[in-house]
């Protein structure tokens, strides 16, 4: 049973903004692309091992094979971690430099629309006009277009509200709704 409206009010903190940027980056990457990176990493590692075993010779060759193996490990196993770390670091830097841009927001989920309100912005947008929505463990991201989005940190709501928002978005947006790891 979905009780509407659900109102969430919050002030974006530095970790919120970093979580949002990480989630937005995750939403951009398709599972097939992650798999391609893993396979590429494995191929690089195995190629390096085979080359080292059968074509080992000069010092320079060994250095090249070692670099291949290291790049394979980075691409195959740690790319996700490195990308996430980089996105977080950039988000922290941006937040520190633009603190004044992050002001208190109220988001209200209604039967037909979502209302966003800040001191300077107010919008009432029907579900049909949204491009998509994405959810991970920490935030909901609501896209008005490919490159324009709004986010709501889950820390600003209780578990029941979180479940209700999840239900509303998945019901209203259907195939336009994505959840982390669910594609």
């Amino acid at each position: 049973m979905i009780e509407v409206p659900i109102t969430v009010s919050y002030l974006t903190t530095k970790p919120d903004y970093a979580d949002f940027k990480v989630a937005a980056a995750k939403a951009l990457i398709k599972k097939s692309e992650t798999n391609i990176l893993r396979v590429t990493g494995c191929v690089l590692i195995f190629s390096a091992l085979i080359l080292r075993a059968f074509f080992s010779g000069s010092f320079l060759q060994n250095v090249i094979y070692t670099i291949m193996a290291i790049v394979g490990v980075i691409v195959g196993a740690f790319f996700d971690f490195i990308a996430r770390y980089t996105v977080r670091a950039r988000a922290f830097t941006y937040y520190e430099a633009n603190k004044e841009k992050f002001i208190a927001q109220i988001t209200e989920f209604d039967e037909e629309k979502i209302t966003f309100k800040t001191d300077r912005y107010s919008a009432s947008i029907p579900y049909a006009l949204f491009y998509k929505a994405y959810e991970d463990g920490r935030v909901f991201i609501i896209y008005t277009g490919i490159d324009e989005m709004k986010f709501i940190p889950k820390r600003a709501m209780n578990e029941q509200e979180c479940e209700q928002i999840h239900n509303i978005l998945s019901t209203k947006l259907q195939e336009k709704y994505q959840q982390e790891g669910a594609r």
């Binding site: 300077r120 107010s122 009432s124 029907p126 006009l129 277009g145």
Partner: protein
């Protein structure tokens, strides 16, 4: 929407931005990030590289008795210059049209009220205020004012179509004043 010590609006514009207009504004914004983002500079750099490679042909031929290496280099750099000059701008415009189509709000008719220090943008679905200091840059082109880097709208375009010469001059003078060194005129 609160506006502070603003007085009367400098201009009120009512417009609907088409996909092509938005794509053109997007391309203008992309090209103005830095000199290296301009297609002329990228293509020019490639042609310069081709000329430099061409200049080593005599010594290369003397040493290796062939000109295949520099010939390939010249071909690649000239091909790249053609890509940067002719293909990439179209790719950017197509991507911009995709962005426009993805965002239903961009197609709505909007009212833009320009104040001394801020702008209020209203359409059927949203209403917001941005200060000129929030934006990164204003580029005036023959057809529009392209304002980039806003908080709520990363690209704001004010079309000149339908404006009188006097309105255009007033807005142009205002943006030149409000954006100072961040104002650029591409005509």
């Amino acid at each position: 929407m609160p506006t502070f010590y603003e007085g009367k609006p400098i201009e009120i514009i009512e417009q609907s931005v088409s996909s092509a207009e938005w794509a053109s504004a997007y391309y203008t914004a992309q090209s103005s990030y830095s000199l290296i983002h301009r297609k002329e500079i990228k293509a020019g750099a490639c042609i310069t590289a081709a000329l430099l490679i061409g200049s080593i042909i005599p010594s290369y031929h003397y040493r290796f008795s062939t000109v295949w290496g520099p010939a390939c280099g010249i071909f690649i750099t000239l091909a790249l210059s053609a890509v940067f000059y002719f293909v990439q701008p179209n790719e950017i415009r197509q991507w911009a049209e995709k962005l426009y189509r993805s965002n239903a709000i961009l197609a709505l008719p909007e009212k833009i009220t320009v104040y001394r220090d801020s702008v209020v943008i209203e359409n059927e679905r949203e209403q917001f205020l941005e200060y000129w200091t929030d934006f990164a840059k204003c580029i005036e082109t023959k057809d529009a004012f392209v304002i980039t880097g806003g908080l709520e709208r990363s690209l704001l375009t004010i079309q000149k179509r339908g404006m009188t010469q006097e309105q255009q001059s007033r807005l142009s003078a205002h943006f030149a004043d409000a954006f100072a060194s961040r104002y650029q005129r591409n005509r």
